[in-house]
Amino acid sequence: MNQSPSTGPNGAADSSDTNDTGDTGTRTLGVLCLLGFVLVLVLAFGLSEPDDEQNDLVRIMYVHVPSAILSYTGFVVGALASGFYLWKKSLAADLLAHASIEVGVLFGVLTIITGAIWGQPTWGTYWDWGDVRLVSMLVLVLLYVGYLALRGVGGDVNTRARRSAVVAIGSAAMIPIVRYSVNWWENRTLHQQASLTDGKLEDLTLFTLMTSIVVFLLFYAWLTTKRFRLGWLEHQVTELGLDEAIAQRRAEARTGVDAAVGKSPHSDTVREGREA
């Protein structure tokens, strides 16, 4: 980022230099992600062969499975950051938890969408309640939508951070409970059983899937950093707004007192200063 002192007279930034929150680290990461996505595209559509059972539909797996893993990563990191917030009361950790969970929800929704699209030609239906992983992902996404709703209500920053942290940790505790209960609920799962490990997938298919997972995790790191910095900037804006409001109140109070005492010239300058 260009940090040249091109600020206006009142300290506000010139828009041209400050449009993004990138630095060398995130730029490198971003470029890596882009290259990675190109690689995944080449692997997924150019080099890998159709699967024996799923035919070409296996190509949906290259986005579906990494999305699911990314989503769970987002939820777990969110819970860890929330725990760190409660421990150290660092607002940065709170903002990180928000960023991570928001990205997690985004990819949770994508997991459900791609899963349903895959289900239509494979099972003949978009949605089957017997599919344990999709159903539990749906419950988890709804759980974390509640978290985002709680963050949206505003109020005192520290209060919100504390409440959100409790919800984030409680929701992460729900992940295994939801998985188990839904798993027992319908044992007739339609899902590919542990296709990652039993060597049923072709070599290149497995390699493509692994590459895609790695690229998605890199993308998670990049996106969460970006979202974290946005949250941080928006926090700064609220803080600034608060400072400004307090300064205005003080100025008003002073004007009132000065007017009462009769020092009108001084109060005029204050008023002019505020109007300028």
């Binding site: 759980l143 709703a149 409790v166 940790i169 409680g170 729900m174 409970i177 209960s181 027992w184």
Partner: protein, 225 residues
């Protein structure tokens, strides 16, 4: 700690005994839900009997939500939260006390609703073991729902739009309770061949997790004003 908790529970139950909000508003709501389910399913007795466990627990969850909202608003609206904090009672005891009060109310609700489904839906308790399963499931789920409810109720207290926020936060959390309690009742009413006691174990796990979590986290939520 436990004595303080009993004190808090007694206080909440006494308020309920005098105001009768749960009795005169929440219970009728639950019965209304049973009637509406019957209309929705075309008053088909065999269908109603088969789906009794699910309908019963949906009714309990929605009515329970109202009861939880009522109990938390009680503290917030009258500013008694501050008084409670000043009273030097540990937050864990407050949590435990409020949890017990809500459990008792939920349990009373469930007993009356069980009579309701026996009469309206023609459900039948097959055996003594079924009756025992019914009773234990009711107690354990009440504790689980009350624990999660007390925690999330305190969490949304005082927030603008808490009436809409509490359901969206709490209902996904209670989804596993709905699944397990329904399965357990399936066994008790004989409407599906499942092992209800195994599901009861999952309910117990949920209750333990949320009791522990609530005891630890309630203080964090009370710090604020």
């Amino acid at each position: 700690m436990f004595r303080d908790a009993l004190l808090i529970a007694e206080k909440d139950l006494r308020i309920e005994a005098r105001s009768r909000v749960v009795f005169s508003q929440v219970l009728p709501f639950a019965i209304l839900a049973l009637v509406l389910f019957a209309f929705a399913l075309n008053a088909d007795r065999p269908v109603l009997r088969d789906f009794t466990p699910g309908l019963f627990w949906v009714a309990v969850l929605f009515a329970g939500l109202l009861a939880i909202q009522r109990t938390t608003n009680l503290e917030h609206d009258d500013g008694t939260n501050d008084a409670l904090r000043l009273s030097a009672i540990e937050p864990a005891s407050i949590f435990l006390g409020k949890m017990m009060a809500i459990s008792v109310q939920l349990l009373a609700l469930e007993v009356l609703l069980i009579i309701g489904v026996l009469v309206f839906y023609g459900a039948a308790i097959e055996s003594v073991a079924g009756g025992a399963l019914l009773a234990v499931t009711s107690v354990v789920s009440s504790v689980g729902v009350a624990a999660a409810g007390t925690l999330y109720g305190a969490l949304t207290a005082g927030i603008r739009g808490r009436e809409t926020l509490l359901p969206i936060l709490l209902l996904p959390v209670l989804a596993p309770v709905l699944i397990s309690a329904t399965r357990s009742f399936d066994d008790a009413f004989g409407s599906a061949a499942v092992n209800g006691w195994a599901w009861l174990a999952l309910l117990g796990l949920f209750a333990v997790v949320y009791l522990t979590f609530g005891l630890l986290a309630y203080g964090i939520l009370l710090e604020e004003s």
